[in-house]
């Protein structure tokens, strides 16, 4: 029967290969600075997994995933900032006990929407629920009105731009263009030490695998098949008795939650959050990572995030001006030549060769066994 196993053979191999790389090879071979860079790259893999569901499967291209990445990141940053702004730490301010940038902007009390972020459990919930709620509102407003395709992409892009402007403009409440910086401890635990970075890397990888499994679960349910069906023949899904808008909203919300988990991890790994990870450019870059990795492949999204970011770091160090052109060219090349990205190249060219090799090996060893067995008879 089709789809009777959670991972098929090649997916299981992909899962194991990724697990070996992220749990063993990278932590053993990289110094803590490089490992922390990998951790930063991996935060985009969360966004990529969401985009695979929403864009690859559901056909909903969002050019505003930075919004959700940012919302998750800012929720985490607000908690960390409040912890760093204890009365003892901020006694030189005119109003001790509030974040430094608020004091610089003549705020004298903590704004109401900051207050819940004193609590760690509420922060964790907010990281998941705030982006999901935001996505629900955008999704309901767009999909119920049958706004889709290019129009939806442009609107999400506009939302990313608006949120950036809002964050930059409301300096006293958000930290403005600098973002929320100087974060120190998470629930009393110093996140700036090498040891903490090492632990955080593993926490992130475990979360990443959790998200991979969750996305794979969604993909294998009937909902996953309805997403594919919707991408191809929206009307046929509608006339099979489904509310297409609700399914699109679900996919968009799920992608938002994945992105937000990535954003929250980003804040922990990098130690600050700023509007430069929210706007149009980062949002488009996230789509490029997914496209390069393969928008139909959950593992592809992880590889895409790792490889493109690795290239970005190495190339932008040597050719800072050329890098953006390179990224643009990469996107065009992938869309034109390899619409299914690296995972498509793997599935079309590498996998068949491996299969052939294995098959010939098997038949050879079978032949060998017959040959070996012959004299004994």
């Amino acid at each position: 029967m089709i789809n009777s196993r959670f991972f098929n053979r090649s997916e299981l191999l992909g899962f194991l290969a990724l697990a070996v790389l992220l749990f063993l090879i990278l932590p053993l071979s990289l110094d803590i600075f490089r490992l922390n860079l990998v951790a930063k790259y991996l935060t985009y893999a969360f966004v990529g997994i969401g985009l695979v569901l929403c864009w690859g499967y559901g056909g909903i291209l969002s050019l505003g995933q930075g919004v959700f990445f940012g919302l998750g990141g800012y929720c985490m940053a607000m908690y960390l900032k409040l912890e760093a702004s204890s009365v003892a730490n901020t006694k030189i301010q005119s109003t001790p006990g509030i974040p430094d940038f608020m004091d610089w902007n003549q705020l004298t009390a903590l704004p109401f929407f900051w207050k819940p972020f004193h609590s760690f459990p509420i922060t964790l919930l907010a990281i998941l629920l705030v982006p999901a709620f935001f996505a629900l509102i955008i999704g309901a407003a767009m999909f119920k009105r049958r706004v889709g395709g290019v129009y939806f992409a442009i609107i999400t892009q506009a939302i990313a731009a608006i949120l950036t402007i809002l964050i930059v403009g409301q300096q006293g409440y958000t930290g403005g263009i600098n973002g929320i910086t100087d974060l120190r401890t998470l629930h009393g635990w110093d996140i700036r030490t090498d040891h903490a970075k090492f632990i955080l890397y593993f926490v992130e990888v475990v979360l990443l695998f959790g998200c991979i499994v969750a996305a794979q679960f969604i993909r294998l349910t009937k909902l996953g098949r309805i997403l594919v069906a919707m991408r191809e023949q929206e009307d046929r899904v509608r006339f099979s008795g489904y509310s297409v808008a609700n399914f699109k909203i679900f996919a968009f919300c799920a992608a938002a939650v994945f992105a937000a988990i990535g954003g929250a991890m980003f804040t922990l790994e990098v130690g600050f959050m700023s509007p430069s990870f929210v706007g149009i450019v980062p949002s488009i870059e996230m789509v490029i990572y997914t496209a390069v990795g393969g928008r139909m492949s959950i593992f592809g999204a992880v590889w895409g995030a790792l490889l493109v970011n690795f290239a970005k770091t190495s190339l932008s160090e040597s050719f800072p001006q050329l890098w953006l052109f390179g990224l643009g060219a990469l996107f065009i090349a992938v869309v034109l030549a390899f619409p299914n990205g690296l995972s498509g190249i793997w599935a079309d060219h590498v996998q068949p060769r491996i299969d052939r090799l294995l098959a010939s090996r098997k038949s050879k060893s079978a032949a060998g066994m017959i040959a070996d067995g012959a004299p004994a008879e």
């Binding site: 098949r225 594919v228 069906a229 191809e232 046929r236 006339f239 099979s240 489904y242 297409v244």
Partner: protein
């Protein structure tokens, strides 16, 4: 006739239905009634508004005025998926199946269970589903192609698959838009046989140009012309109507 005063045995009562696209009335004050277990064929020249009538009933196009009552329920106010859930199934003119899914998965999606977001997340492919899918696959001549992706099917097989998807919905009113168009002669014969089997126990509304096919299956024929009814009755009656011969059959 007054809406709401129809005799109970009408499954579908369309009255005063009008739709205008930028002032052009594609369907103009149209009224007709379909009984339980009736097979009604709509014929007419190109542009007569046949497909638009089906679009209006299934909710794809919104009526400008008029009413469509299905078992006493007003369809013009419902959304497409609610109309499907009320028991109206629609097959499109060009085969619309999900090409990236297998025949099995195509049929499974149409199975009337787990149609909400959370219903579909918790949907289990149990024996009832498997049995029903296999049963329908056998009817539509695709029993040995269950694991084939739909993009590998021929045009005729895709048409059958879509009919199968409707069948699994088990609608009380089945609407088919040119089900044998573009089929080979042998596929056409098989489709006629298939349709004859599935039209039992339900009402069917068919658009078709193939007169031989119409004569074979129709209980009653409605001839549309410029968005209005030109003639209605048995095939015998319609065939001999001088107005019909002039605008349609004569050519």
């Amino acid at each position: 006739m007054l809406v709401g005063h129809q005799p109970k045995d009408f499954l579908l009562a369309v009255s005063g239905l009008t739709v205008s696209f930028d002032g052009f009335k594609a369907v103009n004050d149209l009224s007709f009634y379909v009984e339980e277990n009736e097979i009604r064929v709509i014929i007419g020249p190109n542009g007569a508004g046949k497909t638009t009538v089906l679009d209006l009933i299934c909710g794809k196009t919104r009526a400008t005025s008029g009413s469509i009552q299905f078992r006493g329920q007003e369809l013009t106010k419902l959304r497409e998926n609610e109309i499907v859930q009320a028991g109206v199934g629609r097959k499109f003119q060009t085969p619309s199946v999900f090409e990236d899914l297998t025949v099995f998965e195509n049929l499974e999606i149409s199975f009337p269970r787990g149609r909400t977001v959370f219903g579909s997340l918790t949907f289990q492919r149990d024996d009832t589903v498997k049995q029903r899918v296999e049963e329908v696959a056998e009817m539509i001549f695709l029993k040995d192609r269950l694991n084939t992706y739909a993009d590998q099917l021929s045009h005729g097989q895709k048409q059958w698959l879509e009919i199968g998807m409707l069948l699994i919905q088990d609608p009380d009113l089945l609407m088919l838009d040119e089900p044998v168009a573009g089929m080979s002669v042998s596929e056409r014969a098989k489709t006629a046989e298939l349709l004859n089997r599935i039209i039992k126990d339900r009402s069917v509304l068919v658009i078709e140009h193939d007169m031989k096919f119409v004569e074979d299956i129709a209980h009653k024929v409605t001839v549309l012309h410029q968005g209005q009814i030109l003639s209605e009755g048995t095939m015998e009656h319609v065939k001999n109507d001088p107005k019909v011969i002039e605008v349609y059959l004569g050519h």
